[in-house]
């Protein structure tokens, strides 16, 4: 066995972090890497806020009696947990933070196509978040993140500022998507054809398509809701000839594709992690690439599966169920392909890979339970119960959040040039894994026994399971706080990692860590595919041909 020589790495003297200094140079930056970091700070703050609301929910639900929230207070807390996590955290998260930072590097570009639009997108996000914050402090909101009418048009809480905030944040999402579509089409390095792109880029591209096509419909839906509320024009009011179920159709036409905006970037990261940490060419590249597009397309056709008991026609229900089953297949293909990639690989169980494995296990459970819910007869029983809550947490947290944290641990050395404490990282990953499953697995059981959603109090037979679930949430919280601790510590005091500590083959690793402001010192030439681990051995250095002459 070869002894790996211990190399001391140095942070490059001039890099994108220190090239220009001062708060103005960050707030007015046009550098996609800095914008990515600005977004990262914003979405992780949102994750923290949404997480606090989650803890409040679980603490209140420890017993059926009132712990510290009134029923109205509880309704506000679960609405805010949902709205913040979905609109302020998970939808922007991976695309805006990592899509921005990593994607141009991966395709060998200097920046995204429209850097000023990119910065504007971040400010638009902040303005929208500002309205949402204003809503929280001026009456709050208690409609559930789904804003169903007529409750949302008649409640006295601050619906208009909140929905307007979400409306504004929608534009941030649209412009980010637009930027990425154009960047991926037009700014790839010479030689990088579509099928030589890393799968992360394919995932971001499919996501961007959905962002661009679906979000305007959310915009018009929320605008109609706002107009209905202050002008009473009657679109959703049955007494005036309107239809509350129409709201549900409009809302889910966006919000179903939205869940694919949430998961596709996560899957995109998993492709990178599995390949890099198995050190093996990804199995079935084309199938994975096309499955992303397939999911994006079919995702637009299944919105009615949220409305099987809403009073729509039986024929509609049957059609929606049918197409819903199709969506499961591309996701299944990905899982099988990823596992096959690990076969006869050279697997490193560093932190990013632990998160990837958590994803494989948890997302699978989420996926299977999606099949359960897509089955018409069973959904009648399980709709609006804790089974649904467990399902979407398994795919959104067990899926996307695991992938996000895997990506954080993978690209942290690229962003800061420094490595975090590997032991703490492993402990935190295990804590979150255990905590997550303790919290949510039991909710499948509760749901199938009839425990409804959005309940402030509940029948005594569910107390044991609720208590167990709440303990899990505390374990998860500890894990997440630990991660925040050692990652932030690593920014300042971590050991310099070198340009390519994972010896991966995608292009972002062929420049320094942290990268220079212009990303690459020379225009990158594609010398090998992103997964040619069977042909090329990478080292933790910037490749020879990348050095300036």
């Amino acid at each position: 066995m070869e002894q790996t020589p211990v190399t001391e790495y140095k942070i490059p003297e001039r890099n994108f972090l220190n090239e220009t200094k001062g708060i103005k140079s960050w707030l007015l930056t046009l550098d996609h890497k800095r914008i990515g970091i600005l977004y990262l700070i914003s979405v992780m703050s949102a994750f923290f806020a949404g997480g606090i609301f989650a803890l409040l929910i679980r603490l209140e639900l420890i017993s059926p009696a009132k712990e510290f929230l009134t029923a109205d207070g509880y309704n506000q807390v679960f609405t805010l947990h949902g709205a913040i996590m979905i609109f302020m955290f998970i939808i922007p998260s991976i695309p805006a933070a990592f899509g921005n930072f990593v994607m141009p590097l991966m395709i060998g570009a200097k920046d995204v196509a429209f850097p000023r639009l990119n910065l504007a997108s971040w400010y638009i996000y902040l303005i929208g978040a500002g309205f949402a914050l204003y809503a929280i402090f001026s009456g709050g909101i208690d409609t559930g993140w789904t804003f169903y009418t007529p409750y949302s048009t008649s409640t006295s809480t601050a619906v208009i500022p909140m929905t307007f905030g979400v409306f504004v944040m929608g534009f941030s999402s649209i412009f980010t998507g637009l930027n990425f579509v154009v960047t991926i089409h037009k700014l790839r390095a010479p030689g990088m054809t579509w099928f030589k792109m890393p799968l992360f880029v394919w995932g971001i591209y499919a996501t961007a398509l959905i962002q661009v096509l679906a979000t305007p419909v959310l915009g018009i839906t929320l605008a109609l809701l706002i107009v209905e509320r202050f002008a009473g024009i009657g679109i959703f009011d049955p007494a005036m000839g309107g239809d509350p179920v129409l709201f549900q159709h409009f809302f889910w036409f966006y919000s179903h594709p939205a869940v694919y905006i949430m998961i596709l970037p996560g899957m995109a990261i998993i492709s990178e992690l599995i390949a890099a940490f198995s050190h093996r060419h990804i199995f079935g590249y084309k199938f994975i690439a096309f499955s992303s597009l397939g999911i994006a397309f079919t995702g637009f056709l299944v919105w009615g599966h949220h409305m099987f008991v809403a009073g729509q026609s039986d024929l509609a229900a049957v059609i929606f169920s049918f197409i819903t089953f199709f969506v499961g297949i591309p996701s299944g293909i990905k899982i099988f392909n990823w596992i096959t990639t690990m076969y006869k690989g050279s697997i490193s169980l560093k932190a990013p890979m632990l998160w990837a494995i958590a994803f494989l296990l948890e997302f699978s459970i989420g996926g299977f339970t999606g099949v359960v819910l897509g089955t018409l007869s069973i959904d009648v029983h399980l709709h609006d119960t804790y089974f649904v809550v467990a399902h979407f947490h398994y795919v959104m947290v067990g899926g996307t959040v695991m992938a996000l944290f895997g990506g954080l641990h993978y690209w942290w050395p690229k962003i800061w040039g420094r490595m975090y404490n590997e032991t703490l990282a492993a402990i935190a990953a295990v804590l979150v894994f255990i905590g997550f499953n303790v919290t949510f697995f039991v909710q499948f059981i509760m749901g199938s026994q009839g425990m409804p959603r959005r309940y402030y109090t509940y029948l005594p037979q569910f107390e044991g399971m609720h208590g167990f679930s709440s303990i899990g949430s505390l374990i998860m919280a500890v894990g997440f706080f630990l991660i925040g601790g050692y990652l932030i510590y690593a920014i300042f005091k971590g050991k310099p990692s070198g340009p390519n500590p994972w010896k991966a083959l995608t292009m972002e690793w062929e420049t320094t860590s942290p990268p220079p402001t212009g990303n690459f010192d020379v225009t990158p030439q594609l010398r090998h595919g992103p997964y040619d681990y069977d042909k090329v051995v990478a080292k933790n250095v910037v490749p020879e041909y990348m050095h300036e002459h």
Binding site: E2, A71, D72, N75, D142, Y148, T149, P150, Y151, P238, A239, V245, S278, H279, R280, H281, F283, G284, V309, A310, G311, D314, V318, S321, F325, I329, I333, F336, I339, T340, Y343, G345, S346, I347, L349, M353, L360, L361, S364, I365, F368, T369, V371, V372, L376, S377, I378, V380, H381, D384, T385, G450, P452, R454, Y456, T457, L459, Y533, D534, A538
Partner: protein
């Protein structure tokens, strides 16, 4: 019917368990078996395998289609209502359920039905969207304003079964519960005939006390002095109350009767105007009983 649904659920459950076991075991096995030792070297050459890809596209597809068709058949059975079903009107409103029988009484919070007879529920809401859910029967249907939705069931066992509201409807959503009481057919007939007024041997006060629970007053009014959504009934009779209009009144029988039938007329200051009207739900004898009960709750 619920047996059929459970069978499908179990089928999917076991198929998922098997598939998950394959996923989990292979993942963990590969992670250990192919663990990296020492420094990086080139790994084994990449070979495409279209056959494998197609296999695990086709097999899940077939499995899913089986599940889909099975689910459809059960779903349609749920939605095709037998012609001879007895119809009961269900009304959902914040935050209780009321039921009325074609030529019979109306009940609050309790759906009383005969065993082994198909029952059709014709449902609508007085305000926002609610959802009628009886887990033991595996039925659920949203209840909408200005529209009717329908569902049906046939109970094959007697007993009491839990009813939930399962579409978020505000403050009292988690307390909008009810019970489905399935009686033997002869008992049900008897109940239908004798369901109004104090029962044999019951005083008017006791009748009122039973209504206090049956008609869901207990959801918002306490009897021990504590403030709830509505004022406490303890010592209510003869109490001096200040109304939102600024007027002061003394609680008497007329005030009580008016507040039950038209609660918006004289709301006490410090309380939200959320009490639903019981016009059409409380008969005269019911109101008499409740007043007698309230009178008995002296401090």
């Amino acid at each position: 019917m619920s047996g059929r649904i459970d069978n499908l659920f179990d089928f999917i459950l076991w198929a998922s368990v098997i598939l998950f076991a394959i996923v989990a075991i292979s993942t963990i096995y590969f992670a250990i078996r192919y663990r990296r030792h020492g420094d990086i070297a080139r790994t084994t050459p990449y070979i495409e395998n279209l056959g494998l890809e197609i296999t695990w596209t086709i097999i899940p597809f077939i499995l899913l289609m089986v599940i889909f068709v099975w689910g459809i058949r059960d779903f349609l059975r749920l939605h095709i209502i037998p012609a001879q079903a007895t119809e009961i009107k269900v009304t959902g409103q914040k935050w209780f359920w009321s039921f009325s029988y074609l030529d019979g009484p109306s009940t609050v919070g309790e759906l009383i039905v005969p065993v082994n007879k198909p029952i059709k529920l014709l449902m609508s809401s007085q305000d926002v969207i609610h959802s009628f859910y009886v887990p033991d029967f595996r039925i659920k249907m949203d209840v909408l304003p200005n529209r009717y939705t329908v569902t049906w069931f046939e109970a094959v066992h007697t007993g009491e079964f839990q009813l939930y509201c399962t579409e978020f409807c505000g403050k009292g959503h988690s307390e909008m519960l009810g019970k489905v009481k399935v009686l033997p057919q002869d008992e049900f007939k008897k109940w239908l005939e004798t369901s109004s007024g104090p029962q044999e041997g019951q005083t008017l006060e006791e009748y009122g006390a039973s209504l206090f629970v049956k008609k869901a007053c207990v959801t918002c009014h306490s009897t021990d002095g504590s403030k709830n959504v509505g004022p406490t009934f303890l010592g209510l009779m003869g109490r001096s109350e200040v109304l939102k209009s600024g007027q002061t009144i003394v609680v008497d029988e007329n005030y009580l009767r008016e507040s039950m039938l038209n609660p918006m007329a004289k709301v006490v200051v410090g309380y939200d105007p959320v009490m639903p009207p019981f016009q059409g739900i409380l008969k005269s004898v019911d109101i008499d009983g409740l007043i007698a009960y309230i009178k008995s709750l002296e401090k």
